[in-house]
Structures are given as structure tokens and as C-alpha cells.
């Protein structure tokens, strides 16, 4: 008596389970990324009609219901630049310390724990801290300066961790050769290790600044202004910014034309995706050129 055909053999059963399981995983992955494509496509399609030269280069008019978003674009640009001005040197310095100088000690571990925690602190708490330290205690007021400083602290852990990874990826033989030729530690770092790690560091910097450019909560009480009739004149002036502007016109302004909301969303998306693309390009070019 052979087994009846109705109950499949264990092997066939297992193959069927596997095929079903793989199909299920594929489906879940597609279900996860499909909304991302939809979100980007939706904003591009809905936002494109609003984009014109005037929209990008004019001041808002009529309670922001007409005109352009120039001050928001410039504000985000200046904030991002200001963030980089502090976060990049400090971040690369800290990464250099961790990758090239730091001994395996309790203090080094403490730095790592501090970095892990910095990376996890909610952005709105950075905003509170910026309000307490920069705006009130140091009396910078609600300003480009206070906002940039707040954002740079938030960006720091991203820059440090990617830069450290890039530095550690440089083969040790490079350092050994430089030292054995009489180079000091700093000469080795500056002339050999940093240049080799530069593309990786740059990628991390751009990804960190991309995050800063899109953030709203940290600038809410440190830099952002609802509406400004003119562009900021100094670093002590408040500024408009794209993410905050989008928040304002989509929730705080009654009878705001949806077209302009989508237009602003598209400009913000382009800003962020543009930086993302730049980082990806740098990374893949560096990978192709790398000789080690």
C-alpha cells in the first residue's frame, strides 16, 4: 500500500510552505515600500503645477496665500549652512579622536554612550534645550544663530558615527607606512587618513545636514518665524524655513490654497532628495575609484 495522493509527501509539503513563505515576504516588502513611491509621486504630481520661477523667487503675499516661498528657501539654506559650520568641524574632530587617538578606556566608552544617547534624544527636546541655552541664557533670541546651533547639536551624532566609520575603513598599512617614514600622528591623519576617508565623511555630512534641513521641531522655538516681511539681515534675526512654512500653511492658515501647500511640499522634498542623491553619487563614485 503506497501513500494516497491526497496527503502530499513531506518534501513537497515543505517546498509548498517555502514558496508560500517567500511570496508572503515579498508581498510584505512590496507593501512596505509601495507607500514610499506613492508619497513621492503624489507630491511631485500635485506640487509640479505650483512650481514656477515666481514661486521660487518671490516673497509671500496676501497672508501667504499668494506669491512665493523665497524667504523659506533661503532660510532653510542659511540654517543648513550654519548647522554645517559648527557640526562639520566638531563632528570630524570627534570622529578623528575616536578613530585615531582614543585609547580603549572607560572615558572613551563614556563618549560612545553619550553619542548613542545624543542620537536618541527627541528633536523637540533639542528645541527645548536650544530655547533654554541659546535663546534665553545666552540671549541670542529667536534667531538664525540659535537655530543653527540647536540643529548642529542634533546633527552631530550622525556626522560623528559615519565619519568614524569612514576613518576606520582606511587600511592600517597606510598609517604604518606614514609613521615609519617619520610622519607624526597628526601628519598621518591630515595627509593620509583624512584624504582617503573624505568621500565617506562627505556622505555622512550631507546625510546629517539633510536631516537638519528637514527638521521642524528644533527650530520651532529657536529660529522659526511665522511670517517675515523681509529677509533676515543678520544671524541674530529670526528666519522662515521650508519645513516650518509647510507646517504653518497646512495647519495654521485658513483658506490656504492647496496648490501652494503642495508646491511648498515639493520644494522641501526636492531639497531633501537632492541632498540624498548627492550623497549617493559621492559614495558610489568613491567606491568605484577606490584602490584599496
Amino acid at each position: 500500500m503506497t501513500a494516497p495522493n491526497a496527503s502530499p509527501t513531506p518534501a513537497r509539503h515543505r517546498r509548498r510552505v517555502q514558496r508560500l513563505g517567500y511570496a508572503f515576504l515579498t508581498l510584505a516588502a512590496v507593501a512596505t515600500v509601495a507607500p514610499i513611491v506613492l508619497v513621492v509621486a503624489h507630491i511631485v504630481v500635485q506640487g509640479a503645477p505650483a512650481i514656477s520661477l515666481a514661486f521660487l523667487t518671490e516673497m509671500p503675499r496676501a497672508g501667504m496665500r499668494q506669491g512665493g516661498v523665497l524667504p523659506a528657501i533661503l532660510g532653510t539654506f542659511w540654517l543648513t549652512l550654519g548647522t554645517g559650520a559648527l557640526a562639520v568641524p566638531l563632528g570630524i574632530g570627534a570622529a578623528t579622536y575616536l578613530a585615531e587617538y582614543a585609547p580603549e578606556s572607560r572615558w572613551t566608552r563614556a563618549i560612545r554612550v553619550a553619542l548613542i544617547n545624543l542620537a536618541g534624544i527627541p528633536s523637540v527636546v533639542y528645541g527645548l534645550f536650544g530655547l533654554g541655552l541659546f535663546v534665553l541664557f545666552l540671549q541670542f533670541g529667536t534667531s538664525l544663530l540659535a537655530g543653527s546651533l540647536t540643529l548642529s547639536l542634533m546633527t552631530l551624532p550622525v556626522i560623528i558615527s559615519t565619519a568614524e566609520e569612514a576613518l576606520r575603513a582606511v587600511p592600517n598599512s597606510f598609517r604604518v607606512v606614514s609613521i615609519s617614514l617619520g610622519g607624526t600622528r597628526w601628519q598621518t591623519v591630515r595627509r593620509i587618513v583624512l584624504p582617503q576617508a573624505l568621500p565617506g565623511i562627505l556622505t555622512g555630512v550631507i546625510l546629517g545636514l539633510e536631516r537638519a534641513a528637514g527638521e521642524t521641531a528644533p527650530i520651532l522655538f529657536t529660529a522659526a518665524s511665522f511670517f517675515l516681511p523681509r529677509l533676515p539681515q543678520s544671524v541674530f534675526d529670526p528666519t522662515m524655513a521650508l519645513p516650518y512654512h509647510l507646517f504653518v500653511i497646512s495647519t495654521q492658515v485658513p483658506e490656504m490654497p492647496v496648490r501652494l501647500q503642495y508646491g511648498t511640499a515639493l520644494v522641501l522634498l526636492a531639497f531633501v532628495l537632492g541632498m540624498n542623491l548627492l550623497a549617493t553619487l559621492i559614495r558610489s563614485r568613491a567606491r568605484a575609484r577606490r584602490t584599496w
Binding site: L90, Y97, N276
Partner: protein, 297 residues
């Protein structure tokens, strides 16, 4: 060359100082949060701090409704993000052909880079009306809407860290399982995923940590009603999270008022919460690494 020595010394100190700045910043943040929030404990009536209402105009400063709101939204997000995030990570690491991986990974990365205000904007304009009509409830601005979007925000973290953990599982584990006759499917769930368990737990914790701290998205789509959630029904009604409360009210309070200090107190609670989550998550990674070293040596 004493000049060169001096330079070397100076630069070394500068580099070391920037390394230690991380500790200084965490300490400063903690100090300022404590400094600005401690008056709340003496000014606000303790009965109101531990009451059941958040209604600052009448002096009701209970954090419970806000904690509850954050909890409901985050748990909702976890229920959605966990299966999808884990399945995506397993698919990318173990199943996907190369071309699919090359498409999926950048897409997940893009999701991680989308500004939260952008997701909040679409949630407010598109998702909330959709939730309202499909579920036939009075408003689409609910904890559920927030949870859906927060799931999206935590998925990139969950996927990338779990994928790293799965990649780190030694090849020999899989080969041993396959040699013993297990199918690839059995190998994934009985060998690879259990071996990457601690990394996956870390991924989930960090992902949810991001969800708890998310501000703009939840402020825009959860309806901002600070009510104490009492049951599962709370998921489909408006809530108010801790982060949204700070963001929505800090702009309007008088500096130095009780309300102002209580908002800093919420910030301190969030800070300590993320501290605990991150310390546990990172110690899980360390412990797993030590265990792996022991096993492989």
C-alpha cells in the same frame, strides 16, 4: 623642532576636546532641562501633577493623559511596524535577488530621509480623511492615523539595523542548517533570525524610540485631545502625545510661568525615557557581541 611639537600637542588637545564634547553636550542638555523644569515641582500643585487632566489654563498639569497618548500611538506604531519592518529586513537580507535589493534599500533610505512635517502634511490632507471614511468614525485625526505614519517613520531604523544583524550571522550557521536538510525557509526562521535576535531587538527598540520622540507628524494628525486613554477604543479617537504638547504649547506660554516649567518637565521625562531605551538597546548589542566572540573563539 619645538614649534612642530607644540603644534602637534595643540592639535591633539583640540581633537580630544571635540571627542569629549559629546559628554559635555549630554550633560548640558540634562542640566538645562533640570534647571528649567525643577520650579514646576514646587509651583504646580502635586495633586494636579498626578491627577487625570491636562488643562493648563485652569492649572491642571497631569502628565498621565500625555504619557498615555504617547503610549497608545507608539504601541499602535509597533504593531504595524514590527511585522512589516522585520519581513522587509528578512526579505532584503535573505531572500531578495540582487536587483530587488538594489531597489528596496535606497527606497527605505528615502523614507528615512523624508522630513516628518512632510508625512504630517500628507497625513493631514490625504490619510486622515481616508481613515475617517473607511472606518466611518467622526474624525480621521486619531491615534491610529498617527500610528500608521509613525510606523513609516520607525520602519527605516528597524529595517536597516535588523538587516545589519542578519548579515552579521556567520555563513557557517546557514550552511550547517542547509546541510542537515533544512529548507532555506526553515533556516531563516529557526537559525538565522534567532541568531540575530539581539540585533533585531535593538532595531525595534531604536525604531520605537524614534516613534516616541516624533513630534510634527503626531501633532498634525492625532487631533490633539489630551484625554486619558482607557481602552483599545482610544486607538480610534484623538489623543495628544508628550512631544506634540511641547511643540504646540511652548510657543504661547509666558516664560517663567508654571505652564512653561511643566513643559520643560515633559521634556525631561522624554529625555530620561530615550536615555533608558538607548542604554538598554546598546547594552543588548554589547552583550550579544561578547557572546558571539565567546562562541567563535
Amino acid at each position: 623642532m619645538p614649534a612642530a611639537n607644540w603644534r602637534e600637542f595643540l592639535i591633539t588637545q583640540l581633537v580630544r576636546a571635540s571627542g569629549y564634547s559629546a559628554i559635555l553636550i549630554v550633560a548640558l542638555i540634562f542640566f538645562f532641562l533640570v534647571r528649567e523644569s525643577s520650579p514646576a515641582l514646587s509651583q504646580a500643585d502635586p495633586a494636579s501633577l498626578f491627577g487625570a487632566r491636562w488643562y493648563p489654563i485652569e492649572g491642571h498639569f497631569s502628565l498621565w493623559p500625555l504619557l498615555g497618548g504617547s503610549l497608545v500611538v507608539t504601541l499602535g506604531a509597533a504593531l504595524i511596524a514590527l511585522p512589516f519592518g522585520l519581513a522587509t529586513a528578512v526579505y532584503i537580507a535573505e531572500v531578495a535577488p540582487r536587483w530587488a535589493r538594489e531597489i528596496l534599500k535606497p527606497l527605505v533610505e528615502i523614507l528615512g530621509g523624508l522630513p516628518s512635517v512632510l508625512l504630517g502634511f500628507l497625513g493631514f490632507l490625504v490619510l486622515a480623511p481616508l481613515v475617517r471614511t473607511t472606518l466611518a468614525i467622526p474624525t480621521g485625526l486619531t491615534a491610529f492615523t498617527g500610528a500608521l505614519l509613525l510606523a513609516g517613520i520607525s520602519i527605516p531604523t528597524i529595517v536597516s539595523i535588523s538587516e545589519d544583524a542578519l548579515d552579521a550571522v556567520p555563513r557557517t550557521y546557514r550552511e550547517a542548517a542547509l546541510a542537515l536538510g533544512a529548507t532555506p525557509w526553515q533556516t531563516i526562521w529557526r537559525v538565522t533570525v534567532p541568531a540575530a535576535r539581539s540585533g533585531i531587538v535593538t532595531a525595534v527598540m531604536l525604531g520605537l524610540g524614534r516613534a516616541v520622540g516624533e513630534t510634527m507628524t503626531v501633532m498634525m494628525v492625532t487631533g490633539n485631545a489630551p484625554v486619558l486613554p482607557t481602552g483599545p477604543a482610544a486607538l480610534f479617537s484623538p489623543v495628544r502625545t508628550m512631544t506634540a504638547t511641547i511643540a504646540a504649547e511652548m510657543g504661547e506660554v509666558a516664560r517663567g510661568s508654571t505652564h512653561y516649567h511643566v513643559l520643560f518637565l515633559i521634556g525631561l521625562v522624554l529625555f530620561l525615557l530615550s536615555l533608558v531605551v538607548n542604554l538598554i538597546a546598546s547594552s543588548a548589542v554589547l552583550r550579544a557581541r561578547r557572546r558571539a566572540e565567546r562562541l567563535l573563539s
